[in-house]
Each structure stands twice: as structure tokens, then as C-alpha cells.
């Protein structure tokens, strides 16, 4: 007999869960509200929670004054580019390890994982100097490259755990039926691999979008993605809370939506399959 959840118990746990969920979400909500206030109201004490003069002028100002679109475009190019290149390199590698494993496959996988453990700050100096001498500082291509390498181990790992789950019997059955390698790829493997590919793509877009070590250290203006752009609001003359909130809301909104879609894969991707 399944445990009976009494109405009272459900009420209590529901109330508690909503309360704590709301508290955790509150800073984001508060930021969203501040983005619709005037600068004076964003600063005001006591703060107004809902009954203030709602305005969208901050969003307009952010777009006009600070090249927001330019930085957003940088974020899209850097996060998207690094993820796509990482996928192009990772798909064949994960494929071959999942379908033609050798004695060394496990060692190779663990070694790849260990490269992810390298603290970026440990190699900041040489990377900075190499970038400086090749003129890659503050360039999109430089950031694409470094974020791609930084996330490559996670991409390979995620793809590997997904490919591993594709039943091999199906491949053999297709071969028995006389499918060529090409047909096998297009009609059998690709459809089964697409969910795994999609979640890998999503998680890595999120990681690259939010990456804030290399982007802060290797970009200043022309290649600066949103992470660096938002950081410029930390200077004293940038204490415009409503505009900071508007810029921040715009910067996190797309990734919040993607993140909510991919939360199940997040556990798997970030624990390298150790927790499913």
C-alpha cells in the first residue's frame, strides 16, 4: 500500500516548499522589479514592491547608450561558436569511444575529465601572454577558442554517456537488413542521438554564456560579452541600479529559459554521469 499523503501534510509541505522556493528566487524577482522602476524609486527607502510607477525607459536607455546589442551579439557569437566547435570535435570522439571501445577508453575518458580540473588561474599567465603576442586579447575568436577547449571535456563526457545508451542491437539489426553505413547513420543513429545532442548543446551554451573568468580577463570592450559588460557597472560612476537591473535582466533572461528546459540534463552533465 502506498503511503497515504494526508491533506494536512500536503498543505504543510506545499506551503513550506513555496516559501523557500520564493525566498531563493527572490533576488532575481527583485532585480526584475527594479528594472521597471525609475532610478529614484530603485534607490528609495522604504522600497516599493509593486505600487510604483512602472516604466520601460531603462530598457530603452540600456539599448541606446551602452551598445547593449553589441555585447549581446558578442555573447551569442562566443557562446554559440565555442559550443558548436566543441560539438564538432566531440561528436566523433564520443562516438568512437562509445561504439568501438578499447582497453584504454576508460583511461582516456578519465584523463579528459582531469583536464577540466585544471584551475584556469593556473594557466592565466601563459594564456594571457600568448594571446598578447598573437593579438588575440579582446578578440571574439580568442574567447571562442578558449571556451571551446575549456568545455570540451564536459561535451565529450555528456555525449559519451548518451551514446552509450543507444542499444547496439539496433545497429546490428540494421546491418543485417543490409543498411549501409550512411543509411545507418541517417536513419537509425541520428534520430536516437538527437535528444542527447540537444541537451549537451543546451548545457554548454549555458556554461559558455555565463563563463566569467576568461571573459573578464581576456576581453575589455570590442569583444566583451555580457559578463564583462555587466561587470563594468561595478565602477562607482555606474551606480544606476535600475539600468543595471534592466541590463542584467536582459542578460540572464534567455539563459534562464534555456536552463529551465535543461535542468534534468544539468545534473547528469555536471556530475559526469555520476548522479543520474
Amino acid at each position: 500500500m502506498a503511503r497515504m499523503a494526508t491533506t494536512r501534510r500536503v498543505m504543510i509541505s506545499t506551503a513550506a516548499a513555496w516559501l523557500f522556493g520564493f525566498l531563493i528566487f527572490f533576488p532575481i524577482l527583485w532585480m526584475g522589479l527594479a528594472s521597471f522602476k525609475t532610478e529614484l524609486e530603485a534607490f528609495a527607502i522604504p522600497p516599493s514592491f509593486l505600487f510604483f510607477h512602472w516604466t520601460t525607459e531603462n530598457y530603452a536607455t540600456v539599448q541606446e547608450r551602452s551598445d547593449y546589442l553589441h555585447h549581446a551579439m558578442n555573447s551569442i557569437i562566443i557562446a554559440g561558436g565555442s559550443t558548436l566547435i566543441a560539438l564538432l570535435i566531440a561528436i566523433p570522439a564520443a562516438w568512437s569511444m562509445a561504439f568501438s571501445p578499447t582497453k584504454r577508453t576508460k583511461d582516456i575518458l578519465l584523463w579528459m575529465l582531469s583536464t577540466k580540473m585544471m584551475p584556469p588561474v593556473g594557466v592565466l599567465v601563459p594564456i594571457y601572454l600568448i594571446y598578447k603576442s598573437f593579438g588575440l586579447l579582446d578578440s571574439r575568436i580568442g574567447l571562442v577558442f578558449i571556451l571551446c577547449l575549456g568545455n570540451l571535456p564536459i561535451v565529450i563526457w555528456m555525449l559519451f554517456t548518451y551514446f552509450k545508451e543507444i542499444p547496439r542491437d539496433i545497429l546490428e539489426a540494421a546491418r543485417m537488413d543490409g543498411a549501409t553505413i550512411g543509411r545507418e547513420l541517417v536513419y537509425v543513429l541520428t534520430p536516437m542521438a538527437i535528444p542527447g545532442l540537444a541537451s549537451t548543446l543546451l548545457l554548454n551554451l549555458i556554461l559558455a554564456w555565463n563563463e566569467a573568468f576568461w571573459t573578464l580577463n581576456l576581453s575589455t570592450s570590442s569583444a566583451a560579452p555580457l559578463t564583462t559588460f555587466i561587470a563594468s557597472y561595478s565602477s562607482p560612476e555606474g551606480l544606476f541600479w535600475a539600468k543595471l537591473s534592466a541590463a542584467s535582466t536582459l542578460a540572464i533572461a534567455p539563459i534562464l529559459v534555456l536552463g529551465w528546459f535543461s535542468q534534468k540534463q544539468l545534473v547528469r552533465g555536471l556530475t559526469f554521469g555520476a548522479v543520474k
Binding site: A2, S13, I24, I45, I230, S234, I252
Partner: protein, 290 residues
């Protein structure tokens, strides 16, 4: 069907990834080791000279190193403790029958997707500002003196921000593990008259041991190199109060332009991270066979 041909194909598919990661791992590391033995300042180009282990002596005996090592340990330790101690009850709560659980999940996971520079600035200004922040207003409601977070307790302020970012991660992993716990086992224990507390201690907690270990190891890897949160809020200060090892190395490299010393520091950071990585790789590796 492992013919020689497919083996060759498999190997050539693997090579680009392995090659790139190998270069990515080896070249910067070798350069870091090389630079760490040089007297090398970007302010004084052309004066590079071999100094052996002098940079390590300088870095390790610098009072800033000890201070930042201590800050790093306090930061990592506190955030780990807070995320797990808060994450377990939160995950247990969300594992209960809750109306609208999916929506609660969305709210709880959200902070993890906020870029570090945004969360740090929102906390610093909108919440923790000593005059106009929400916390100051709440304190005044209760007749308390508002805390000047970034002057009086700067490290605690950073810890709170980072905890807020990582609590969703810990909760989500623990919740995933809880959901895979066998309900029948719990029911059997209850039939035998076990109290909720002993069910938790003898059944739930042992089941959570592995996910907790994974949370600790993965968070440690990321928390050892917390950077953006410090960069945009305190800049390591006041004094050295919020300088962790990552920030110390950054400031030696890109503010003081002391390449040699920063490289020595970088290697120290690599060694610390490797100690953690050693254990994580073993746990993940064990899972790979299962």
C-alpha cells in the same frame, strides 16, 4: 565487428579531441612551470633571468599568500557546509508531495543560471547596500542597525553570494538522488515501526552519501577558483580580506605584472586542485564500470 578498418576509423575520429586537449593541458602548464623559474616582470621587459625556486619562496612566504590561502579555505569550506546543510532539508522538502512541485523546482534552480557578475552586483547593490539595500531596510524594520556588509564582514558577504549560486546545484543533485531511492524500503521500515528520524539516519542518509561526495568534489573544483564574484564586489579588499588564491594570482599577473611570481602561484593552485581531482576522478571512474 572490430575489424582493423573500423579500429583505424575509431582512432582517427578520436585523435582531434585527444590532440587538442593534450596541447591545451601541456603547453600552458609547461610555460607556467618555465615562467615560474624566471624573474619576469612585464613592467621591465628584457630583464628575464633564471632564478630557480626564488619565485616559490617569494610567493609562499608572502603574507598575502597565507591570508589568501586562509580566505580560500574559509570560502570553500563555508559554502560547502552551507549548500549541503541547507540543500539536504530543501531536497527532502521538495521530495514530499508538493502541489506545483515543478514550479517550485524552477524557482529553486534559477540562481544557478544567473551569470556570476549579475548575481554579485545584484546582491551587492540591491540587497546588501548599507543604506538603500533591501537588507538594510529589513534591519531597520526590526530596529536593528543595518550591516555594512562589504566593509564589516566582506568575506561573509562573498560567502553568502556564492552560497546562493551553488545551493540550487546541491539541492538538485540531492533531489535527483532522493527520487531514485526505493520507496518500498522506506515503507518497510515504517511498517516495522521506525520513526521518521531513524528512517532518515539509517536509510536516506546512507543513500545520499555518494551524491553528497559528488557535490563536495565538484563544488570544490569550482569554488577553489571563485573569481568574478570577488572581482566585481570587493576587488579582494578591504586590505586582503576577500583575496582568495585565484584573485591573488590574478592581481600579481595583471595588476602588478609579476609574471614569475604569478606563475609560481598558478602552480600552487594547480597542485591544490589536483589533490581534489584525484578523489573525484576515482569516484567517477568507479561509476564508469558499474
Amino acid at each position: 565487428m572490430a575489424t582493423r578498418q573500423t579500429q583505424f576509423l575509431a582512432r582517427s575520429l578520436l585523435t582531434p579531441a585527444v590532440g587538442l586537449l593534450f596541447i591545451w593541458m601541456i603547453v600552458p602548464l609547461v610555460l607556467t612551470i618555465y615562467f615560474s623559474t624566471l624573474h619576469y616582470s612585464l613592467l621591465d621587459p628584457g630583464s628575464e633571468s633564471f632564478v630557480g625556486l626564488e619565485n616559490f619562496r617569494y610567493f609562499l612566504t608572502d603574507p598575502a599568500f597565507l591570508a589568501s590561502l586562509q580566505n580560500t579555505l574559509v570560502l570553500v569550506g563555508s559554502v560547502l557546509a552551507l549548500t549541503i546543510l541547507l540543500g539536504i532539508p530543501l531536497a527532502l522538502l521538495m521530495d514530499q508531495p508538493v502541489i506545483g512541485r515543478n514550479f517550485v523546482r524552477l524557482m529553486v534552480i534559477a540562481p544557478f543560471f544567473v551569470m556570476p557578475t549579475v548575481s554579485a552586483l545584484v546582491w551587492k547593490n540591491l540587497l546588501m547596500h548599507p543604506v538603500s539595500g533591501l537588507f538594510a531596510w529589513l534591519a531597520s524594520l526590526f530596529g536593528l542597525t543595518p550591516i555594512d556588509w562589504f566593509n564589516d564582514v566582506p568575506l561573509l558577504a562573498v560567502i553568502l553570494i556564492v552560497t546562493w549560486q551553488w545551493l540550487p546545484f546541491a539541492t538538485l543533485i540531492l533531489l535527483t538522488a532522493l527520487q531514485s531511492l526505493d520507496e518500498e524500503q522506506k515503507e518497510a521500515a515504517e511498517m516495522d515501526g521506525a520513526s521518521a528520524v531513524s528512517t532518515f539516519i539509517y536509510i536516506t542518509l546512507p543513500h545520499l552519501a555518494r551524491p553528497i561526495t559528488v557535490v563536495i568534489l565538484i563544488e570544490t573544483i569550482f569554488l577553489l577558483t571563485v573569481f568574478a564574484e570577488i572581482f566585481v564586489t570587493t576587488g579582494g579588499g578591504p586590505g586582503l580580506q576577500t583575496t582568495n588564491i585565484a584573485f591573488l594570482i590574478y592581481s600579481q599577473a595583471l595588476i602588478q605584472f609579476d609574471v614569475g611570481s604569478a606563475s609560481a602561484g598558478g602552480l600552487v593552485a594547480v597542485v591544490i586542485a589536483n589533490i581534489v581531482a584525484f578523489f573525484l576522478v576515482r569516484i567517477v571512474g568507479r561509476n564508469l564500470e558499474a
